[in-house]
Amino acid sequence: MNFDFSEDQKFLAGEARKFLEAESAIPVVREVLNDDDKAYSEALWKKIAEMGWLGTAIPEEQGGLGLGMLEMCVLAEEMGRVLAPVPFSSTAYYLTEAVKLAGSDEVKNDILPRIVAGEIIGCYAASEGPGHPDPASLKTTFDGSTVSGTKIPVTDGGIATHAVVLAKEGSGASLVLVDLSGAGVTRKTLSTLDPTRGHAELTFDKTPGIRLGAAGDGASLNDQLMDKVAVLLAFEQLGGASRALEMAKAYSLERYAFGRPIAGNQAIKHKLAEMYVKNEVARSNCFYGAWALSTDAPEMPEAAAAARVAASEAFWYASKENIQTHGGMGFTWEVDCHLYYRRAKLLAVQAGGPKVWKEKLVRALEQKNAA
């Protein structure tokens, strides 16, 4: 039985934590929060690229570190803990994995080295309005060489250089790689519940694009891509949930009411115990997702979905009850609780909300049972 990260991976986690606590501390997050014109921390992003993290799961032949998905999971958790205000997920999960999954050798050799070098920022453009985007009824179209249509919202859409676009092609759907410096791209900045991450509406008007994979394979490729992304996002959520529990614990120990720390009240003790239980359930499911992700296991659909469902629930509960534990202080702008509450919501609805993943999970269980 070896159901844990390795010593090397834990060392990486430790180093990442030290780096991020120094370089992505809350003041860095608040710079982005408080400046409407700032969609990410450029300085932090540059340092992350210099650390080589963007190439963690990119093969050495394309300039990456050639490590595996487990190392990505470790980094994702640490990014989630500090609410890193950078397009890490957009670039290192969505764009990188889409190119690795379905890009031609030419595309891989073009894009991946530039991701490693920090020259490219990615984004994933699927949503077109309220509700989970259905590959069967997209309004954005791809005609084999250009994309037209509007995607909203696109996380990091305002700063990205390249987008992975889910578009209709003929009667099916395709995943299309779009260079956003191309013709016909319009970007509009959006206000969202999580101003520590940039969002935009992207409109394409006959913008050149390259299909990833075969025509009409988009729905299937998108499912595979979402499974991979789901595990990585789940680790970010797990990191956020863990940090929220730590915050609640620390505050409840230092805050006195009625002559003793509020942490001595069963109402607080049991609330934090609930957080702990949810976080451990999430951690174990995330580990299983990491195992499936790193081994291309056939259990990937249910493992990814379970990790995502558990981590979304854990982060939601921890972030809202962290505010509650802080009382009035937790409802001020200056205290960081609301940043976790905001991020919890963003991560929960990105790449499909809990309802979407619960349905995916049950479908996977049905198929397994039928097989």
């Binding site: 959006l190 509650q324 702008w333």
Partner: protein, 399 residues
């Protein structure tokens, strides 16, 4: 069992309604104004009009400019007024909680000086109890008052004060003796909010808004004659203030089952059985709360004192609101993260209330405090063990 007014109640309702129709527009007939300064002037004018027509304080005796009406008439007035665009906000706390405290504990001079002007909308009051380190445990407050001749010198900080920036006066609870157990060393004063040393700073809330304030007191001097009640009796005075909180008569805190049902119908997700079951639960809870208020009103209408059943209100509504908004956002999926009123279904009310709901679970008693209150005051279960009960305040641990 029916939902009808008695003949007397119906007559009063008609009178109230006629008065309201004469002076105000029904809610929703014009877009809500966001003009804060003008709002204050309008509120003062409306208060004056009400007072001149004996609709200002329904249950107050006529001696103080009230109507001498019943608690049920007060409920009816609240129901009717809430159907109109009535600018009442700035006066709710002052006339609902502060001035009744002045009437109960103030001298004749106080009453002459303050009551009429407040009633006529000329002066606005705020309530200064909570402190950064004294929220659920209000009696643990630290703001100090030190006697200096015929005056008291105040230093300290209050927090979460509604309307402090436009208030003329406040009732202020401070510590006058730190050598005795915490409840026994408090005293209540009337404070002039416009005097030197009083500094009001808006609080930037987690939701982004700035509806509340911090109030800093630096060497603020209050004459001993502006004391309410005895020195050391402040907690007793404060309990009267808090008991005067008005019976809540409506005013949903945000979107409810009907709004999310409408959204789901418009966006094709009303067929989802999981959503339907949640909707049923929300409806049952919302109805439960609304109908419980009807039970309370029935007691009032019969001239009885309402039972404790109304205490379930905020525990239900605050969590409910957070859950409904969260569900609506999750139904919108990634799109739900957008927080722009002009782009979003229902003018982004789900998003905005999502950010407001955590505050509602805290303000005016956290979920946990409210459950303690139900357990202790309604069910008669024992109080929590109080380690600080007999300890002098200055020997209490405070982190």
């Amino acid at each position: 069992m029916d939902f009808n007014d008695t003949p007397e109640e119906a007559a009063f309702r008609a009178e109230a309604r006629a008065f309201l129709e004469k002076h105000l527009k029904p809610k929703g007939s014009a877009p809500a104004s966001r003009d804060r300064v003008n709002m204050l002037e309008k509120a003062k004018a409306w208060q004056k009009t009400k007072a001149e027509n004996k609709f200002a304080q329904i249950t107050w005796p006529e001696e103080w400019g009230g109507r001498g009406g019943t608690a049920m008439q007060n409920v009816i007035w609240g129901q009717e007024e809430s159907k109109f665009d009535a600018p009442t906000g700035p006066f709710a706390i002052g006339l609902g909680m502060c001035v009744p405290t002045v009437i109960a504990f103030g001298s004749d001079e106080h009453k002459k000086r303050y009551v009429q002007k407040a009633l006529m909308g000329e002066e606005i009051w705020c309530q200064l109890f909570s402190e950064p380190s004294a929220g659920s445990d209000v009696a643990g407050l630290k703001t100090r008052a030190v006697k200096d001749g015929d005056e008291w010198v105040i230093n300290g900080q209050k927090v979460w004060t509604s309307g402090a920036h436009y208030s003329d006066f406040g009732i202020l609870l401070v510590r006058t003796d730190p050598k005795v157990p915490k409840h026994k060393g408090l005293t209540m004063f009337i404070v002039n909010m416009k005097q030197p040393g009083v500094e009001v700073r808006p609080i930037h809330q987690a939701s982004g808004g700035r509806e509340f304030n911090e109030v800093y007191f630096t060497d603020v001097r209050i004459p001993d004659s502006d004391r309410l009640g005895d020195v050391g009796a402040g907690w007793k005075v404060a309990l009267v203030t808090l008991m005067n909180e008005r019976l809540a008569v409506g005013g949903s805190p945000g979107p409810d089952w009907a709004e999310i049902m409408e959204y789901a119908r418009d966006h094709g997700t009303l067929s989802d059985q999981a959503f339907r079951e949640k909707l049923a639960d929300w409806y049952v809870a919302a109805q439960g709360y609304k109908l419980t208020k009807f039970r309370t009103q029935t007691a009032l209408s019969r001239g009885q004192t309402p039972g404790p059943e109304n205490s379930i209100g905020k525990i239900i509504t605050a969590n409910h609101l957070q859950d409904i908004c969260n569900s609506a956002i999750e139904m919108q999926d990634h799109y739900g993260i957008i927080n722009e009123t002009d782009r979003m279904p229902a003018d982004a009310i789900f998003q905005q209330s999502f950010m407001w709901a955590p505050g509602l679970r805290i303000a005016g008693g956290t979920d946990e405090i409210l459950k303690n209150i139900i357990a202790e005051r309604v069910l008669g279960l024992p109080q929590d063990v109080r380690v600080d009960k007999d300890l002098p305040f200055d020997q209490m641990k405070s982190g």
